[in-house]
Symmetry: D2
Subunit: 116 residues, 4 copies
């Protein structure tokens, strides 16, 4: 069957999450550089079509723990340092999505789908 | 509203496309190395949850043209060199997706959504 | 032969350039999001060992041209939009490096090597 | 001072290492997909100028351990799963480089510099 608009809207939302994650995973990060990276991640993904807003926060405690465990003053960005939420608006369908840790893995999920 | 299974399936499909694209965009590529990269792209994304199959082909003509235009024997991977199709199976919902060029941009799209 | 300190310093400088380029190539970019991305690129690479300072500027004209040529309000980051310079300090050897366009390709180069 | 040819050769070697690492860090990887990814990494970086050969191996034990620790059948590529060596030939200067684990971090290093 042809996809519906809400299904296409969820596809668009998924694209943005995969893009954000795999564009920036591996970036060197420290407590001092976390804010500029989070800001750039949000602004760059907001450029993508149908992407109304992106919010990226860095979770300070797991970042500090990872740096303490390693032998350097920085580490590489991975999902467990991130809180992400996004709003997608595709042809009047608004999709809210977020990324949260579950069982030690960053789980990307659709929180709600609303048709105006 | 809570998302339905087909909507979640489409979200999963989108994640895979965004991942594939932004993980590998920018990789040095030439006609000789195109096959190994296409193969690795498919196999790596197939690792992701609910991803049944990924097919990646490199479009030889635009790749050769881009190399002829530049001053080097290779170029950087971008969407216009790629043909991609994927099958996602999420809780019995099968989503077929593909990437094709439209107006000079690689457009990722949902081709069909089937509930078993 | 064993490498000398100036040779190791130049190796370190090269690592930073390759990292910066391939971490961020492909990132969605527009005139509005260019500054936050440039800032994050510099701060993230400065985390790496022996990296004293990184300066990243976005060249507005080629970015605007690329967007005008495409069908969207953004494009993907590539070397021809970037001006980069870096200072590496490795065991008292100071290496100055930069990236500039040559024959349509972004050329990374060592500008000077000074031993204190 | 102007850089010497051996110093430029080491800079070139560093670029290749930084490229390889940051292009592919974060790629989904499992024991089944490790070989195709290693092969593509080597072939893609060999495209870069002055890069004579690249060898990439995946260290099976740390990869298996990381997957066993996580909740999924794959993990994300990071330096501790990799053995890499490269030969750079820049204007008759041959540089041998490798990446090995030291203190839990992947350390990229110059092993030798020979002028023909």
């Amino acid at each position: 069957m042809e996809p519906t608009s809400p299904q296409r809207a969820c596809f668009e939302a998924g694209i943005k999450f995969g893009s954000l994650y795999h564009q920036f995973a591996g970036t060197p990060i420290s407590p001092d550089s976390a804010d500029s990276l989070a800001h750039a991640m949000a602004e760059s993904i907001e450029n993508q079509p149908h992407c109304e807003s992106v919010s990226v926060g860095v979770r300070e405690e797991p970042l500090a723990d990872a740096i303490a465990d390693g032998g350097a003053a920085y580490t590489e960005l991975t999902g467990r340092f991130l809180d992400v939420s996004m709003t997608i608006d595709y042809e009047g369908v608004v999709v809210e999505t977020s990324m949260a840790m579950e069982d030690g893995y960053p789980l990307m999920q659709v929180d709600s789908v609303e048709t105006e």
